[in-house]
Amino acid sequence: MSTAAQPPHDISVETLEEIAKRNQTWPVMAGKYGVENPVPPWKTSLDGMCDAIDRSCAGDDLGFSFQDRRDEEDVLSATRYADLPYPENQLVALAHSLVARGVIDEVELRRRLEAVRARLEA
């Protein structure tokens, strides 16, 4: 992965593509377990995260504005993550944008995913 001046959607983030490929999306999981909630339980937490980022990151050195986030989400949802439904595509697009900007390192993200999963499964 490179953070050179490439558009974020031109950058491949293997960790996120693997997640997209495994397709543990809410419609699939809800169908498997007979759950009726239309959206996954983490949806409002993601909303909170997007709001917090929009509020804090637009004016700082990162320059990641609401408009940037939504534009990239639209492009990524139509291209790299076209097979994911909403809000999975929103979550993965947000992660992609942050990795592509170098805010989060992909190796660091992969390690954290492993650590969080281990904690939740403990």
Binding site: A30, E88, L120
Partner: protein, 240 residues
């Protein structure tokens, strides 16, 4: 719940007494937590900020907007206030646009305007660029509002898109599509329908659904929600 003695000596099936859950940790659940933790560690926001925004996202909905319109239908002075000073009118239904979360201004702070429908003008809102929406007063936008399909087509072919929502307007009604943006938010004040004479504010508010306030539906007596729920027989957890 049951006439059985609850001593767990019998072959009791607890799975049939609780709602089903996804009994597996998904990649997306893990990703949401991992991403949030990394953002907090890198100082993008604090855990307390996130919790407050999440609480805000969970409690907002279209109820204040419905009350505002219902009150405007009943009270000409309040209607005048709603159309001339929508922020002041919002405050009277419990929404402070300058500080909707109570802890600062989120990204959707806006110049807010209420668009009054008339017998010959129908408004519908969109955000052609992304998904700007009057969230403090209308709650989170529906999924379809965010789609490029709605955003692109409502601007070009509003009547066609409205008809897909089941709203077919006569030719003598002009359709105005109002495009939101980062600085401006809109909501529609629909016309009060016939058959509502003598109704209370509460009764009127019930028929002013979210979609009426976006402009893809019209308030109709007897229609109190846009959601059609399926019913099914109750699951009996006992007496098998």
């Amino acid at each position: 719940m049951s006439e059985h003695h609850h001593d767990h000596d019998h072959d009791h099936d607890h799975d049939r007494t609780v709602k089903p859950m996804v009994n597996e940790i998904t990649d997306f659940e893990v990703l949401e937590i991992a991403l949030r933790e990394l953002c907090i560690e890198k100082g993008l926001f604090t855990a307390a900020d996130h919790r407050l925004f999440t609480e805000f996202a969970e409690q907002i909905g279209p109820t204040p907007a419905a009350r505002l319109v219902a009150r405007a239908w009943l009270d000409p002075e309040f209607k005048h206030l709603a159309l001339t000073d929508p922020l002041a009118a919002s405050k009277q239904v419990g929404v402070d646009w300058l500080d909707p979360t109570g802890f600062g201004t989120p990204s959707d702070f806006a110049a807010f305007k209420i668009l009054e429908n008339t017998p010959t003008i129908h408004h519908v809102i969109v955000c052609a660029l992304c998904s700007c929406y009057p969230r403090p007063i209308l709650g989170n936008s529906p999924e379809w509002y965010r789609t490029p399909n709605y955003r692109r087509r409502i601007v070009r072919w509003p009547r066609q898109v409205l008809s897909e929502f089941g709203l077919v307007l006569p030719d003598n009604v002009e359709v105005r599509v109002e495009d939101s943006n980062q600085k401006h938010r809109f909501m529609v004040m629909p016309l009060r329908p016939r058959g509502t004479d003598g109704w209370t504010e509460e009764q009127l508010a019930e028929i002013i659904t979210r979609d009426c306030l976006i402009g893809v539906a019209l308030p109709t007596p007897g229609v109190t929600t846009n959601v059609i729920t399926k019913t099914r027989p109750a699951i009996r957890g006992i007496a098998h």
